[in-house]
């Protein structure tokens, strides 16, 4: 290995923000044709180091070396021109523009007099999209695409230039299994062309499937680099968080109380139809299915964001009409939404204010906000969820992705709901915190809450649920108890194969 020259090398990179030493002397290199994983807890500095590489931040100290030369990246376009392509953790697309315009933003092909060469633009884009096997074309407006498809647009950007190194920052966080397969094919192609790939993810199974080496960061510091084939999940976890994890399936059950929420024959236009289920206090009900199966839409209906076209919702045995989120909150329903940036957080507001937002009207001292009580709530959930931030005054937009997600979870836990609905609760959360959150969800059920967990990650549903509702294309295919569920019959049910009962 020593005779191969790295495409890219970081040397002693230091980057500080007010109150945070995000990177503290980070060094590692990427070889041509390798997939190099970058792992670490939420806030370890993974995204920050990649932003330094991508020219978005300037390092305080240290050097970036490409080939034999030290390079300085003064901006994203300069980094791209040097062959470094960065696919962001948070989507950064212009919703009103077409797919093609987004992919070639800032470098649209031109004809004479600076006119955009639309024909060429669409032709090039469609060629790339074909490689990615996606179901939309170059002219589609990005705002009309699902989050997963928007992610594919980000990935398509990587294929437009002659890349030397491509950085994927949690690309699979919102992809379906089928889309993941396509992504991994793309990565394999890039690899074959000798491109160096940096791959950031919290999902162990992916890391072990596609990467060659793993570099681990902790608190902005370099912990070590290992060859993937010479290590295992347990050892990497140990490097990241210094302890082991319990990843088994859920077998315990809590004592069940009465039915907190019952849904009978609920339908909402074409989104889903004839959905019936119930959740008892003390129970975690998992919803598993492919993206687009209608799970999020059911949650939004229960939270008063959509009007059902038919069916009944019963809370504690009483039929209710939930007309708005405020109404849902008043009835003790909480929803942790799937899109933290769009639906969960006001990025420009500080951590504390975000966390107490749903209960501003209840935290009063006279006419004013009871700021002391607010800080107390924030502190409580910061400790409970291990949120890494210099203090409550930090803007949420400055937190790492996983820590942002934890703020959203804390926000809704602090409402002490009767029914807690969480939609993809651990998206972007590191393995350690993930198991903490799973424990927390189980613990809440034990305290008598009714919990609904929507997830596209099979290990997650298997790990936390007492019962699992399998959905396919807007319909409930089957409800499993945790004794009868297996990976196979679950996959069958969510693929729409109905003969699993006979089998």
């Amino acid at each position: 290995m020593t005779d191969v020259k790295p495409v890219l090398r970081l040397e002693g990179i230091v980057k500080t923000f007010p109150g945070v030493r995000a990177l503290d002397g980070l060094s590692f290199d990427v070889l041509p044709g390798e997939v190099h994983a970058l792992m670490g807890e939420n806030g370890a500095g993974k995204s920050t180091s990649m932003k330094v590489l991508g020219g978005i931040y300037q390092p305080d100290e240290g050097a970036i070396i490409m080939g034999d030369e030290q390079v300085v990246m003064n901006g994203p376009l300069e980094a791209k021109a040097k062959g470094i392509v960065f696919i962001h953790q948070e989507l950064s697309l212009a919703e009103e523009l077409s797919v093609a315009e987004n992919i070639y933003l800032g470098e649209l092909p031109r004809k004479s007099f600076g006119r955009v060469d639309w024909a060429l633009l669409y032709e090039r884009t469609d060629a790339i999209l074909k490689k990615l096997k996606v179901g939309f074309n170059a002219r589609t407006r990005v705002g009309d695409l699902s989050i997963a498809n928007q992610q594919m647009v980000e990935i398509a950007r990587a294929l437009t230039v002659d890349a030397k190194a491509v950085i994927f920052d949690e690309p699979t966080a919102s992809l379906t299994d089928a889309e993941k397969v396509v992504l991994f094919d793309v990565i394999a192609d890039l690899q074959a062309e000798g491109v160096g790939i940096i791959y950031i993810s919290h999902r162990m199974e992916e890391i072990f499937k596609i990467t060659d080496r793993i570099t681990v960061l902790r608190d902005g510091q370099y912990v070590g680099t290992v060859e993937t084939k010479n290590t295992d999940e347990e050892r990497v976890t140990q490097m990241m968080i210094g302890r082991k994890l319990d990843l088994s399936r859920n077998v315990s059950h809590h004592e069940l109380g009465n039915v907190a929420l019952e849904v009978r024959g609920l339908s909402c236009g074409k989104l889903y139809s004839d959905v019936s289920f119930e959740v008892r206090r003390g129970e975690v009900l998992g919803f598993y299915g492919l993206v687009g199966a209608g799970r999020t839409e059911i949650a939004e209906t229960l939270f008063g964001l959509r009007e059902p076209s038919a069916g009944q919702i019963l809370l504690d045995g009483e039929e209710v009409r939930i007309s708005s989120p405020a109404d849902a909150i008043a009835r003790g329903i909480s929803l942790v939404p799937e899109d933290r940036k769009g639906q969960g957080l006001v990025l420009g507001m500080n951590c504390r204010d975000n966390m107490t937002l749903p209960q501003v009207d209840d935290l009063k001292a006279g006419p004013f906000m009871a700021e002391g009580a607010e800080v107390a709530i924030f502190d409580q959930y910061r400790d409970k969820l291990d949120i890494r931030t210099p203090g409550w005054k930090q803007r949420v937009g400055n937190l790492s992705g996983g820590n942002q997600q934890k703020i959203v979870i804390g926000k809704w836990l602090s409402m002490h709901p009767n029914v807690l609905i969480v939609d993809e609760p651990t998206r972007g959360i590191d393995v350690g915190s993930k198991s903490e959150i799973h424990k927390l969800l189980r613990g809440l059920a034990a305290q008598g809450y009714a919990v609904i967990v929507i997830s596209s990650e099979m290990p997650e549903v298997l790990h936390v649920s007492d019962r699992i509702v399998a959905m396919y294309s807007g319909r409930v295919m089957r409800t499993f108890t945790s004794e009868e569920v297996t990976e196979d019959n679950l996959i069958q049910a969510i693929s729409g194969l109905t003969d699993d009962r006979a089998a």
Binding site: Q58, E61, A63, Q70, V72, N74, G75, L77, G106, F303, L305, S324, P325, A326, A328, I329, L335, P337, G342, Q343, G344, L345, V346, L347, G348, M349, D353, L357, P358, V360, D361, L363, K364, P367, F368, M369, E371, K411
Partner: protein, 339 residues
């Protein structure tokens, strides 16, 4: 050996040049308004030593009070992510109405009636922008012209004057003083304090920031977006009514067009204070600073002998400067590298 030192040198040089350039850009962008303000003050004082005299300072604050009071209300609207371009024409309306009613039903009834009528106008805008979700630029630009028409219809196109200027206490709000401090200034300070507390410390203020910062997330948190925007326009209208009261009381007579063009000065003050037009940021304190900066610059230019009407051009230039610096601060540099 030489290879290493060469690289070290390159490293330091590369870092130095990029860092210092970037830092200067950031500092200029972030503090640009203040730096420009200080330069103005120094230049004005050199040009005309009267500029910093207590008399002149007081007169600046006094003449800024009307703009200031309106800017307080517009701050709420801007933070909620909307615009209000109707405040100037709405102020003309308030002024004319209260002067007219003064002689018809007496000042004691005229003032609350005028407030109620102005609040109705605010409610109409709040309904259209908040509940019907119409674009605030279009709605308030339309209202600017509609309210102007309303005022002209109401007054029959004539100027309005109080008949008995000597025998009324109505002049108190514009001309009176308490302990030597002019009442308009006291009104401005009281409103600024009250609205400042409302915005920074009450649940309602928190909701305004949330709605302007990310409306979808606010909805997902159970915050009534439409109602919050509605209330912002009511607050704006109440401030406009107060400004109209000061204006009417100061001159005891008025043209139909007293407020014309003030909407831009008000907006300039709010943006100068650093509120983002995208919503979600800004404070009452910053707006007060913005009002004062605008007032001092205009006053300074007048003292230097600039024609009164040239002020309109100057105000526009200041707006452009403020918006540019606001964007530059976000980008961290003054020039965009994009074509």
């Amino acid at each position: 050996m030489s290879d290493v030192s060469q690289r070290e040198g390159a490293k330091r040089e590369g870092k130095m040049s990029s860092l210092s350039r970037q830092q200067i850009g950031t500092v200029l962008a972030k503090q640009g308004i203040l730096i420009a303000f200080v330069i103005f003050i120094v230049a004005f004082t050199i040009a005309n030593p009267k500029f910093l005299s207590p008399d002149n300072l007081l007169s600046v604050v006094r003449s800024s009070a009307i703009i200031g009071v309106m800017a307080l209300g517009v701050t709420f609207v801007v933070i909620s992510g909307n615009l209000d371009l109707s405040v100037g024409s709405m102020m003309s309306f308030s002024t004319i109405v209260v002067l007219d009613l003064h002689d018809k039903i007496g000042p004691l009834l005229a003032i609350p009636t005028m407030f109620a009528m102005t609040l109705c106008l605010g409610a109409v805008i709040g309904f259209l922008v908040g509940y019907l979700k119409l674009n605030s630029l279009i709605v308030t630009l339309g209202m600017l012209s509609a309210i102007h028409g309303l005022t002209l219809t109401y007054s029959g196109g004539k100027n309005m004057d109080i008949a008995d200027k000597e025998g009324t206490w109505f002049g108190f709000f514009g001309q009176g003083d308490i302990l030597g401090i002019p009442v308009p200034i006291l009104l401005f300070i009281a409103l600024a304090a009250g609205l400042g507390m409302t915005l920074s410390r009450t649940p309602f203020g928190r909701k305004v920031y949330a709605v302007g910062g990310n409306g979808t997330a606010a909805t997902f948190s159970g915050i009534p977006r439409a109602r919050t925007v509605f209330y912002c326009y009511l607050i704006s209208a109440a401030c406009v009514a107060t400004a109209g009261l000061i204006q009417a009381s100061r001159s005891l007579g008025s043209q139909n067009t007293v407020g014309q063009g003030l909407e831009l000065e008000v907006l300039a003050a709010v943006i100068l204070g650093g509120a983002s037009l995208l919503g979600g940021s800004g404070t009452i304190f910053k707006t007060v600073i913005g009002v004062l900066i605008l007032g001092f610059i205009q006053n300074g230019l007048l003292l230097m002998g600039l024609q009164f009407y040239a002020q309109f051009v100057v105000t526009w230039i200041i707006i452009i400067l403020a918006v540019w610096l606001d964007i530059a601060a976000k980008r961290g540099k003054l020039w965009s590298s994009f074509a």
